[in-house]
């Protein structure tokens, strides 16, 4: 158990360190989410109301996550690291968990900028929305990293990621938007928890088959 946690921490630290040194992904995500919010301002005619803005916030979050996730396994692919990781004497699901933690850190950092920006540009964000964003991040990163590992094994590579990921992200959007706009967000937050638990379990259990023959 302790070894497993150690493996996961080492893998997550590797990704974070790589990002600190190369600064590939995070600046792109930040710029992307800021420009998306500006585009939404012009996409919403006046009088559309703040509810539409809250809905678009979720679109921005999912697409920003997608941008980060499409880069998730690029370094591994280019350097052939994935084969080495699979051969390493540790549980394969540790690769998924470590990568998910790193992706979660990137996404959370992007949102630390995005949410205040949203409340300046559009309307203020309440506690339920923030809770929903946190819960949704878990699901998005868990499923997204998994699907990203699938996509990287194919010929189409990054092209396939949105096609595989977006149908799986529809429930996250429903839970998130529901928690943001509905009067009683409890059931939507509960739904997000259910989604996270179910999909994290199935990702954790089946990741081995994605990276091995």
């Amino acid at each position: 158990m302790r070894r497993y946690v150690g493996d996961v921490a080492a893998l997550a630290r590797k990704d974070l360190l790589l990002e600190v040194r190369s600064r590939d992904t995070l600046p792109a995500m930040l710029l992307f989410v800021a420009s998306a919010l500006v585009i939404f301002h012009f996409a919403l005619p006046s009088g559309t109301g703040e509810l539409a803005g809250l809905g678009l916030l979720w679109v921005a979050i999912v697409f920003t996550a997608l941008l980060g996730l499409s880069r998730a396994f690029v370094a591994e692919r280019e350097q052939g690291v994935l084969d080495g990781l699979v051969l390493a004497p540790s549980d394969r699901s540790a690769i998924w968990l470590g990568k998910s933690i790193a992706a979660l850190a990137f996404l959370a950092l992007a949102e630390v900028i995005a949410l205040p920006l949203f409340s300046i540009f559009f309307s203020s964000v309440d506690g339920a929305t923030i809770a929903a964003v946190l819960l949704a991040d878990l699901g998005i990163c868990a499923v997204g990293v998994f699907v990203s590992a699938m996509a990287i094994a194919t010929r189409a590579r990054e092209l396939l990621l949105p096609v595989l990921f977006l149908p799986l992200a529809i429930p996250v959007i429903v839970g998130g938007v529901g928690a943001s706009v509905a009067g009683s967000p409890g059931r939507y937050l509960g739904f997000l928890v259910l989604y996270d638990l179910l999909f994290a379990t199935i990702c954790w259990a089946s990741f081995e088959y994605v990276v091995t023959e």
Binding site: M150, L160, G175, G178, E213
Partner: protein
């Protein structure tokens, strides 16, 4: 039987499509479930051929799913006057599933045939059976904030003879599925053995 036996209800003639639409939809669920079960068998027990069976089953499921969307859309047009209604939960669910399983083909055909392809397809089919109930729940939840007034009219309850017709139609549709399944599987198996032979010769 659909045309002559089942009594008309207050919707008139267009209610007949119910006997086609609902059995197709249920058969499509059965296909996806069967495909995921075969996928699980592949991953768990490494049953030879389970991957092909899973693929054929999901392939048919997508065809039945597309037919569900088309017949459902026709029904909606005649009953409510619109081709598409977001308040129809089942149809929206099928749209989500249709998108999801269409991506299955993209995934499957952009990987070289072999163990890798079989593994990825099987894992994806397992995601599908988790996604079905989650999406069902999500669409119910979404309707609460998109349409605050619940859509409660369920139409008339079925009478005995209507229910009987419905069951016969469902059985017929399942029989059609299993016939197509066997046919397609036989074809694919012949293809596979032919390819093996060619490789042996060439």
């Amino acid at each position: 039987m659909v045309a002559f036996y089942a009594p008309l209800d207050r919707d008139g003639l267009n209610q007949k499509i119910f006997y086609i639409h609902v059995p197709i939809a249920l058969t499509s669920y059965a296909c996806f479930g069967w495909g995921a079960w075969k996928g699980l068998l592949h991953l768990w027990k490494r049953t030879p051929g389970a991957d092909l069976e899973s693929y054929v089953s999901i392939h048919l499921g997508v065809i039945f799913g597309a037919m569900t969307l088309i017949t459902g859309s026709i029904w909606a047009k005649f009953r409510w006057g619109h081709w598409w209604l977001w308040s129809e939960k089942q149809l929206v669910l099928f749209l989500v599933l249709f998108l999801f399983y269409s991506a299955y083909f993209m995934l499957r055909f952009s990987v070289e045939p072999g163990q890798r392809q079989a593994n990825l397809s099987a894992v994806y089919s397992l995601f599908g059976v988790v996604l079905i109930p989650i999406s069902f729940l999500a669409i119910r939840l979404a309707n609460q904030y998109i349409h605050p007034i619940a859509f409660t009219s369920h139409g008339p309850q079925m009478s005995g003879s209507q229910f009987f017709t419905f069951c016969v139609c469902l059985a017929a549709m399942l029989a059609l599925f299993s016939a197509l399944y066997r046919l397609e599987l036989a074809g694919k198996r012949i293809d596979a053995s032919l390819r093996e032979l060619r490789e042996l010769i060439g």
